[in-house]
């Protein structure tokens, strides 16, 4: 674990642990409900990458900063403070979902939580996030847009149009690359001419930093620095989070492009939740009872979210024609 955050308080460590565990248990439950046929369509699980959004959320200004991401978005929504029940209900296509079932797994928003989606097209959120940053600057509201994208999207042309515009206009945006090592079924080494994705802003004068995205404290440290840099008017900055997804690209991907041993090794050696739990124990920050208490609380929250979603009514058929020009 990064130890430059030795000032992180016991309470914060507990919150980080709880947040990451909440995301993991949510995703495990979503996977389970998908297997039972209760969730249909696409479902991209975030298991393994929890430290990235949890750390960035902790580093951000919750009142001011906006967030936008791709379709692997459940973790981002929970980290943004959205209600797990509402997110789960949307996955199940129910009327209490964040979009009343009209968005689904990949397309959920909460303006209240400054979460601007949930975007299904690889890379499309990058120019839009740049636009959110443009609005922060135009309104001088002190906010920064945290724009997440994956290693797959890093090879999209629109990313570089956005880099140029953001650097030219010195927009307050932190581009967070969640490099989970596979763009769908193709590894970064087989898809990217250069693998140091965080350095790809160099042609535009955008600084980039490589971060251990499996270490929540390292994410917080890098996130705080990057957010300050953008907030102070220096323009965009890139964080290259080295992370890993344990599950397939989506529920329909058996992930045969990598070995079981590879996944097991990451789980055993780098798991962000295990690592934080060990760190907390070693430093006697929380007692094992306190940790167990968090585990139980998270289990209950997720169980309640799943029940809420399953009991939520199906959307009214009238919803087909609402919120659109007819």
């Amino acid at each position: 674990m990064s130890d430059s955050n030795s000032l992180v308080t016991k309470e914060v460590l507990g919150q980080l642990y709880k947040q990451m565990l909440l995301i993991r248990r949510f995703e495990e439950k979503a996977g389970q409900l998908y297997g039972m046929g209760l969730i249909q369509g696409f479902c991209h699980l975030y298991i393994g990458q929890e430290a990235v959004v949890t750390g960035m959320r902790n580093a951000s200004n919750k009142e001011k900063d906006s967030i936008i991401t791709s379709y692997r978005d459940h973790g981002h929504m929970i980290a943004a403070g959205m209600d797990p029940g509402g997110v789960m209900a949307e996955l199940l296509g129910r009327s209490d979902g964040y979009s009343k079932g009209k968005g689904g797994s990949m397309h959920m928003f909460s303006i209240k939580n400054k979460f601007y989606g949930g975007h299904g097209i690889v890379g499309a959120q990058v120019p839009i996030g740049t636009g959110l940053a443009f609005a922060h600057k135009y309104k001088s509201d002190g906010g920064v847009c945290i724009t997440y994208y994956g290693d797959g999207a890093a090879n999209q042309g629109q990313v570089y149009e956005s880099f140029n515009m953001a650097a030219l206009w010195k927009l307050p945006v932190v581009y967070v690359i969640e490099n989970n090592r596979y763009g769908m079924g193709t590894s970064v080494s087989r898809a990217s001419a250069t693998q140091e994705l965080f350095s790809r802003g160099s042609s535009f004068g955008i600084p980039g930093e490589k971060v251990d995205g499996m270490d929540v404290l390292a994410v917080i440290e890098a996130g705080e620095k990057a957010l300050n840099y953008a907030r102070e008017g220096n323009g965009p900055i890139i964080l290259g989070m080295q992370t890993y997804r344990y599950r397939g690209h989506s529920m329909s991907d058996p992930a045969q492009y990598r070995t079981r041993e590879e996944v097991s090794k990451v789980r055993a050696e780098r798991d962000p939740i295990d690592k934080l739990r060990d760190y907390i124990s070693e430093n006697n920050s929380l007692t094992s009872e306190e940790i167990k208490g968090i585990d139980t609380e998270v289990k209950e929250v997720i169980s309640a979210a799943a029940n809420f979603a399953q009991e939520s009514p199906r959307p009214s058929l009238n919803e087909l024609y609402t919120d659109v020009i007819i």
């Binding site: 601007y116 609005a135 515009m165």
Partner: protein, 325 residues
């Protein structure tokens, strides 16, 4: 009343809205210091400054991404895509992001932006800078689609588009930029989704859009003097919403409908109008609905070729003459 050109009406309309609402920002390639490649935005940069009138890199995806992101937070961006052909470069943002967000978010997110673009042929620019692509937008649920034919409508419909809570695709016909017309003094705003009967007629109804409107009117004038045929002309002005009621009302009077569109033949907007009228008014019709369109070809550059491709006054005149017998 002031007489302005169609291109001056663009700047006039944008200025009216920027003066009214500080949330209106304008971005695009060469729109500011250069005044627009068609000189349709001259003076705005000096009047409103570089923060509100932003020259962008040649990056259509970034332009529309910036506009959408800004619109989601309450700004009212007007984004220019220099030629409508270039919409293909950023169509993902238009079709998959901008058009669908209000629906997918259950109304949490509005995307109140206007995408202005120079559309259509007649300038010998060849196949990649001359297309009429308003039908592309018409096919995407969630977009409003406007194409004015007069300076007054440019200003009034642009104002309405800026104030509308939905994304509006605003197609300016580039061959109309030099055309002059009267604009009322004071605030000018029209209603979106209303067609205009620009000429009454009792024998046949011609439905047209943008540059095809003045051609249809000229053809109607010749039909009257040369063939004693009374042809009415409807300027659709908007494809979405589509003012079917005005079309029905006129066609009920004449029992004959001809559509004139600059779109290539297959799936041009006239096909949709024809389909709707066939379903609703089949028993009122005295003849099949006829579409005058550009053929299904990329537009050629040479003037002789381009002129015979795009519906001309002569072609409209002859088509009506042959059909209304």
């Amino acid at each position: 009343m002031a007489e302005l050109t169609y291109r001056e009406a663009v700047a006039d309309g944008i200025a009216q809205e920027m003066e009214r609402d500080p949330n209106v920002v304008f971005l695009g390639e060469d729109i500011g210091k250069a005044g627009g490649v068609f000189k349709a935005t001259v003076g705005l940069y000096d009047q409103f400054g570089p923060d509100r009138v932003r020259d962008t890199p040649i990056s259509e995806q970034a332009i529309l991404g910036a506009a959408m992101g800004a619109a989601m937070t309450g700004l009212k961006p007007i984004a220019e895509i220099m030629f409508s052909d270039f919409l293909a470069v950023c169509w993902d943002i238009v079709a998959n992001q901008i058009a669908k967000s209000r629906y997918m978010t259950d109304g949490q997110v509005n995307v109140p932006l206007v995408i202005r673009t120079a559309n259509g042929g007649g300038a010998r620019f060849g196949a990649q800078h001359s297309q009429s692509v308003e039908n592309w937008s018409m096919m995407i649920p969630g977009l409003k689609v406007v194409a004015p034919s007069t300076p007054r409508d440019v200003k009034g419909l642009l104002a309405a588009a800026v104030r509308d809570p939905d994304p509006v695709m605003f197609f300016e016909q580039k061959s109309l930029y030099p055309v002059k017309g009267e604009i009322p003094d004071g605030e000018c705003i029209e209603e979106l989704g209303k067609a205009k009967v620009v000429r009454e007629g009792s024998d046949v109804t011609i439905v047209a859009l943008a540059a095809m409107v003045p051609r249809a009117v000229e053809a109607a004038e010749r039909l009257k003097t040369e063939a004693k045929i009374s042809a009415g002309v409807i300027d659709l002005r908007s494809l979405v919403p589509l003012d079917t009621q005005t079309i029905f009302k006129e066609v009920e009077k004449t029992s004959r409908l001809i559509t004139v569109e600059e779109n290539p033949r297959l799936c041009g907007w006239g096909a949709e109008v024809s389909s709707i009228v066939s379903e609703e008014l089949f028993w009122n019709l005295d003849m099949p609905i006829i579409r005058v369109t550009t053929p299904h070809i990329p537009l050629p550059s040479a003037d002789e070729l381009e002129d015979i491709a795009i519906p001309s006054v002569e072609k409209i005149f002859q088509t009506v003459l042959r059909s209304v017998d």
